[in-house]
């Protein structure tokens, strides 16, 4: 299934968001997610089903003013 992660096209075999995140290499990272512009908490990822073309934002702590 093709999805867009942080603006880049990615192909994942899992339609479960938690599994897809693991597949993409984010398993061990401190990061927050949004799906199609809506916040998805860490706990909700395993109950979220992805579909073709979904857009995921994966954000982590960065410098800010």
């Amino acid at each position: 299934m093709n999805i867009i992660v942080n603006g880049e096209n990615k192909n994942v075999s899992n339609d479960n968001m938690k599994e897809a995140m693991n597949e993409l290499g984010f398993k061990e990272l401190k990061c927050a997610t949004a799906l199609n512009g809506n916040f998805i908490s860490v706990d909700d990822r395993e109950f979220t089903t992805l579909k073709e073309g979904d857009k995921i934002e994966v954000l982590s702590p960065q410098q800010g003013g």
Binding site: G25, V58, P61, G64, G65
Partner: protein
């Protein structure tokens, strides 16, 4: 010092974490400035780089309170979603809420700001709204649930200082009990001193220290400047006069004319 959502911070300086020449200089600047709050952000993570976790390990060692921002958000939805992501990552209800309305000045979209403040306050966030000195907007933000205001001194990153002293004084006197932080536009230590002398409760800055030729020395300068302004306000300054008044007593002066 006034409390920010029930929290008494140790020093009235909130310092940004961006644009420093190196992580070690960032750490030194926090120590020298005595900042008690660090502002941080969220950005896209690459699974390969893990830059977020590396940065976060540095910030945790500063042992300061964390104020995440929604920098770069231009819509209510963007800002609200980013705030939720920040609350999960940083484990804090505090959010520095930015809803930018105009690119050249990075002026806040005050209509979106009020709307987002209401949504987030109702959801348990403790909102620090980046706003202008407009009294009506300030009143609407307070009605939306904000218990702190963060008026700009001048546009973000401009270093222009306090552009509208009259407006800021009016805001300060109109809401004397509301904790207020001057956020954005501070370029020199004297700007921070002036803001504290006007009765503001804290200063939030970043570029003035991070982009100075010697950031660590500038950080120390700001710590003295903010302390100076704060003590000056506390000491109840004299009223300015239109005419000169001699400070040396006239009584006992010699008469030396012929």
């Amino acid at each position: 010092m006034k409390k920010f959502y029930g929290v008494e911070i140790e020093s009235p300086l909130m310092l940004g974490t961006a644009q420093y020449p190196s992580p070690s200089i960032l750490i030194s600047c926090f120590k020298k400035s005595k900042a008690s709050v660090a502002t941080v952000s969220l950005r896209r993570e690459s699974s390969a780089s893990d830059s977020g976790n590396n940065f976060w390990s540095i910030i945790k060692e500063l042992n300061v309170r964390i104020l995440p921002n929604t920098a770069g958000c231009h819509t209510v939805k963007e800002a609200v979603t980013t705030a939720h992501m920040a609350r999960e990552i940083f484990n804090t209800k505090w959010i520095k809420l930015e809803v930018i309305g105009e690119e050249d000045t990075l002026q806040p979209d005050v209509f979106g700001l009020v709307e987002a403040s209401k949504i987030l306050s109702d959801d348990g966030f403790e909102v620090f709204p980046y706003t202008t000195e407009d009294l009506v907007v300030a009143d609407k933000l307070l009605n939306a649930g904000c218990k702190v205001l963060m008026p700009w001194g001048s546009p973000i990153g401009s270093g222009q200082g306090l552009n509208n002293i009259f407006g800021l004084k009016a805001l300060r006197s109109h809401f004397p009990d509301i904790p207020m932080v001057i956020d954005a536009g501070i370029g020199l230590p004297s700007h921070a001193t002036r803001a504290m002398e006007l009765g503001f409760d804290a200063i939030l800055l970043n570029t003035a220290i991070a982009k100075a030729g010697d950031p660590v020395t500038m950080a120390e300068a700001f710590s003295y400047a903010i302390l100076s302004g704060s003590l000056g306000k506390e000491a109840d300054p004299m009223e300015p006069r239109d005419m000169a008044v001699p400070s040396t007593p006239i009584f006992g002066k010699a008469f030396l004319d012929d």
